[in-house]
């Protein structure tokens, strides 16, 4: 029998406004096994922690319950406190009387008995807790970075520069991501390629970085510190060890298809390197369009023209197995499909384009060599309408969130357009303009004042093609006047969505995404670059819409987190994991199939199952699957749970009687 102390936190008025603390303390004092009970305004504060430490020592407590907020917030704090007072941290439990009690009730007479019940049930749990010590795991100081956009590049470089090995995988033939498609970047208007390519080159040449382009993560197992991964390197049908990237193959290739890099505005060949500065600058064959593959061996021009014999039509996808200690997800974004906007012509009007397409039109390396020409007839558009919040901030039909970058890139677009076409007219339709970044508001002011860019407040409802013109139907919500703006071209600021495949990846990694497929961070404010699952880190727009500065900051942040992990030889792992009672185990092996972490193994000799303490995440799946009750979660045994439920039911019955 333990000597248990209970500490009730007021959490300012968070708890005490709906829970009668005095009543709780008095009631708990009477509870069997409780040797001591007291309360304090902020238990997590230093004086609060001192109170706990002092009481443990003075009252010789061998189990404590802190009735406070959710354990996800301060369990660690209090376990450390207990440890400092010489109590095994796993004999410390938190009873959540805030999120699950005071916040959800408005009546004291309801919240108070509920708080008491919660505490009593946790006391019961504590009574049967054992002293545990953390599992120590060795860390493999090598990182996997998924995605070779600016986020992945930055993370890889930061980790690599700290002396650790990095595997960077990118599904496209080149790294660089969307940033490589941009012409200039806001608010400084410096050339995107110019600032990006040095970093791309650095990646390709870094001795600590192992770059796999045209590759995807096939499989992953293990846990923080020790992951096993399989990478699928897609067949490019080009032997990179022979190819010099001379480009003759692409030149001679007879097949021309829409270039994804040019967002469909330009063409590329079936054997292609996406853009001149591509890293690595080796072409790949697009099997979908290559005549050789489509027509059973006919064509093969590339093979003929390649003097280095680098074309290898027999190449197969390659699976590469690696081991890493940490994973950074930097899979980036895509634009919401224009086809979803029925009212704006649903992608049927060639002169209604999205922001990335306009970037390509502005870019010197783009399909028009930097001349702004409208796609339908290559005329110079004399008036362009830029429409903001297309798909964004539209919870009813599209996406509820703000895509964050559109306001700013519209400023940039309008300015650059005016620079390219000085007599052109740029009209921006927006509702709110969000310039919450350094120098952003100044940039907007400059655009409006010096750029003569017209801002109209209102969200257009229709774009109608009338002859050569596109007519934007809108209302100026400031004047109330109806507008039918005839333009030559319309640029839609389509919202940012996670890149396709992010959800599949999330499933593979077993990490969470929000409703829209953006990866979920461990804490929205305090742990923005970690996922909820240890060992996985997030960088860039895979986590949510953000601009380049924010992306780079987050990428470096993720790298720093990885480096922190790698800074010691081993890490500790929670001991709250499954164990097997060897006497009860019948060796049915159901748990082996159930375990999502591969943490269970059959001991062929004993014909019973054992748990790999390092791999076990303590999810509990095996425990509910076990037919004989042999599997138990440490410090959360069936007995404990049973007792907790009994207490809750019993005291609730009492509470009912009291009313």
């Amino acid at each position: 029998m333990k000597t248990i102390g209970v500490f009730v936190c007021h959490c300012g008025r968070n708890i005490s406004s709906t829970v009668n603390i005095n009543e709780v303390v008095e009631e708990i004092k009477k509870y069997p096994g409780v040797a001591f009970c007291t309360d304090y305004t902020y238990m997590c504060s230093d004086p609060g922690q001192d109170l706990i430490k002092k009481s443990i020592k003075e009252k010789k407590l061998d189990g404590i319950v802190i009735a406070a907020c959710s354990p996800s917030l301060h369990e660690l704090t209090f376990r450390n406190t207990a440890e400092k007072a010489g109590l095994n941290p796993y004999l410390t439990e938190v009873a959540n009387i805030r999120e699950q009690c005071s916040w959800v009730h408005s009546e004291i007479k309801e919240a108070t008995p509920k708080a008491i019940s919660i505490i009593e049930s946790i006391i019961e749990k504590t009574k049967l807790n054992e002293s545990l010590s953390p599992v120590k795991v060795k860390v493999n100081p090598k990182a996997l970075v998924i995605g070779g956009g600016i986020a992945g590049i930055q993370t890889s470089l930061d980790i690599a520069n700290s002396g650790h090995k990095v595997i960077l995988i990118e599904k496209n033939p080149s790294i660089g991501g969307h940033m490589s498609q941009l012409s200039e970047t806001f608010p400084t208007l410096d050339c995107s390629q110019c600032i990006l390519t040095p970093k791309m080159v650095e990646v390709s040449q870094h001795e600590n970085i192992n770059l796999f382009v045209y590759s995807e993560l096939e499989e992953i197992s293990g846990s923080v510190g020790n992951f096993k991964i399989k990478i699928r390197r897609k067949a490019s049908y080009v032997d990179n060890s022979k190819c010099t990237g001379c480009g003759v193959c692409s030149e001679k290739c007879p097949v021309s298809v829409d270039s994804k890099f040019d967002e469909g505005l330009g063409k590329r060949k079936a054997i292609y390197s996406p853009f001149p500065q591509a890293v690595p600058n080796k072409p790949v064959i697009d099997k979908e369009h290559c005549i050789f593959f489509l027509k059973d061996g006919k064509c093969g021009v590339c093979q003929i023209v390649c003097t280095l014999n680098a074309i290898d039509f027999k190449q197969k996808d390659e699976i590469i197995e690696e081991e890493v200690g940490a994973v950074v997800v930097a899979t980036g974004y895509e634009l919401y499909p224009i086809e979803n906007m029925l009212e704006y012509g649903a992608g049927k009007y060639p002169d209604v384009i999205n922001g990335l397409q306009f970037e390509r039109l502005l870019s010197a390396s783009g399909p028009t060599q930097g001349e702004v020409l409208r796609p339908s007839d290559n005329k110079i558009p004399k008036r362009i309408a830029f429409i903001s919040c297309v798909g964004s901030r539209d919870p009813e039909h599209h996406l509820p969130y703000c895509s964050k970058i559109c306001c700013m890139y519209m400023v940039k677009h309008a300015l650059l357009y005016k620079e390219h076409v000085p007599d052109g007219e740029a009209i921006v339709f927006s509702i709110d303009i969000r310039t919450s970044g350094k120098d952003y508001e100044e940039f907007l002011t400059r655009a409006k004042e010096d750029g003569n860019i017209l801002y109209i407040r209102g969200k257009p409802a229709r774009i109608i093609k009338q002859g050569d013109d596109l007519v934007v139907w809108c209302i100026n919500t400031l004047t109330g006047k109806q507008l039918r703006v005839e333009c030559d071209m319309v640029v839609l600021s389509m919202s940012m969505v996670p890149s396709s495949g992010a959800l599949d990846l999330a499933r593979k990694l077993r990490i969470h995404t929000n409703d829209f497929g953006f990866f979920t961070e461990a804490h929205p404010k305090l742990r923005p670059v970690e996922s909820l699952v240890p060992g996985f880190y997030l960088a860039g727009t895979a986590q949510g819409p953000k601009d380049i500065p924010d992306t780079v900051s987050q990428a470096s942040g993720a790298a720093a987190k990885v480096m922190t992990l790698f800074s010691g030889d081993e890490i500790s792992h929670s001991p709250i994991i499954a164990s097997v009672n060897e006497d009860l185990c019948s060796g049915c092996s159901i748990c082996i199939a159930t375990c999502p972490y591969d943490a269970r193994k059959m001991d062929e000799r004993k014909r019973i199952v054992s748990v790999n303490d390092i791999l076990c995440e303590g999810c509990g799946a095996c425990i509910s699957a076990c037919p004989s009750g042999a599997s138990q979660q440490k410090n959360l045994t069936d007995n404990q749970i049973d007792n907790m439920i009994r207490v809750l039911l019993h005291s609730n019955a009492e509470a009912l009687e009291r009313e």
Binding site: E343, E396, P460, T477, G480, Q482
Partner: protein, 395 residues
């Protein structure tokens, strides 16, 4: 003493609260983007400014229809009653705000205080009193079916055919009801009509804002249906359709409702309705708001038309399906009338005529009535037909 008008009278939480109670709760979602206004059919009436986007803000301020200036107030009430309830705004609104509902909240208060257009007042009264908006006699309600051997509905029949008011009384519209029963008889469908026991579905009463009378009419209709043992109702009017389907259940109705185009399309697909004759005409289909946008029935009418031999099917470019434009008859619009330059129906007719069609196919008696009436004062070589009539011609 008369209250001095000052800035704070612009904000009247009390009015806002009562409007919210009456169904304007959407107002708080509005971020004043104005998309509703340019989606509104009135936007296409070029000389007329219709400030849809202002309604939610003014409702939130409690400033809607609260001017104490007689002329100003008349203007505002005019605005409130211009809304045809087509929900084009709702269809586009990023936050799913139903401006028709906001306006209906105001309408409900105004109706309680008799402060709405006289013509609508009399329309409501007539429906209440004689069961139809025209003040026609109840006993003449089934006159359209004279000589057509249409039985009264009896328990055990599969369908109740419910033509509603325009097809029951209005000479041109009666042809829809007659064509419909012709098709049903040809397909040997078991059906009957309520005849003189039939009463307006009440849709327009509710849209006008006379909620109490709507409830009264609805409850009495439901009772009538229950007493007759009706399980499945076939309707000609999308307005009956939406009311029976989406609103009557709130009052305890328990019957299934189908629009004739749904049923005819099904009969065609299952081979039970064979369209023998050809129809060598160019036909453009007008999506009625209430069938299309409100109930997402876009394909069935098209399916029927595309199954008619020789018929050249046309769409109104840019303005079909959910982007269709109202005929102007909804929410009381059939009874109200605006200056000739300020009519939605003219805009829509022009779009339909610009397709070069010989025939405008409709599936709503309101649309038919609006188009027919307006075409009278146009020199246009185009005809309006309900899809039922087209089918019937081809049998």
């Amino acid at each position: 003493m008369k209250d001095k008008k000052n800035l704070t009278t612009e904000i009247n939480p009390e009015i806002r609260d009562i409007l919210v109670e009456m169904g304007a709760e959407d107002i708080y979602k509005c971020y004043q983007c104005g998309k509703c206004t340019s989606a509104c059919p009135w936007f296409q009436v070029e000389i007329y400014d219709y400030p849809v986007y202002k309604f939610s803000l003014e409702t939130a301020l409690g400033a809607v229809a609260s001017s104490e200036d007689k002329k100003e107030l008349e203007k505002e009430i005019d605005l409130i009653y211009r809304c045809v309830g087509c929900e084009a705004c709702l269809d586009q609104c990023p936050h799913g705000i139903s401006t028709p509902n906001i306006l209906r909240a105001a309408r409900r208060l105004l109706v309680d205080f008799g402060s709405y257009p006289e013509i609508l007042k009399s329309t409501v009264q007539k429906i209440h009193n004689v069961g139809n908006p025209f003040g026609e006699h109840r006993e003449n309600r089934a006159d359209w079916a004279k000589g057509l051997n249409v039985p009264d509905y009896q328990q055990g029949m599969e369908y109740l055919y419910f033509p509603c008011c325009l097809p029951a009384y209005e000479t041109r519209n009666q042809k829809i009801a007659q064509a419909t029963v012709g098709i049903l008889q040809k397909c040997k469908v078991s059906f009957g009509i309520l005849g003189v026991k039939e009463t307006c579905c009440g849709e327009v009463i509710r849209r006008i804002g006379a909620e109490n009378i709507f409830e009264e009419v609805t409850k009495s209709n439901i009772k009538e249906f229950e007493n007759s043992g009706v399980k499945k109702v076939l309707v000609t009017s999308p307005h009956c359709f939406t009311t029976f389907k989406n609103e009557y259940p709130d009052f305890g109705a328990d019957f299934e409702v189908q629009h004739t185009t749904q049923y005819f399309s099904h009969l065609i697909d299952t081979g039970k309705l064979k369209i023998d004759k050809s129809f060598y005409k160019k036909v453009v289909y007008h999506d009625p708001c209430t069938l299309g946008r409100k109930n997402k029935i876009y394909e069935e009418p098209r399916n029927i038309l595309k199954n008619i031999l020789g018929l050249e099917f046309l769409e109104v470019e840019n303005f079909n399906r959910n982007l269709s434009v109202c005929c102007g008859a909804g929410s009381g619009g059939l009874w109200l009338e605006w200056e000739k330059e300020e009519r939605i129906v003219n805009v829509r007719l022009k779009q339909l005529m610009d397709t070069g069609a010989d025939i405008i196919a409709v599936t709503c008696p309101y649309c038919l009535q609006m188009f027919e009436e307006t075409l009278k004062s146009m020199d246009a070589d185009i005809k309006v037909m309900d899809i039922s009539e087209i089918i019937f011609e081809c049998l």
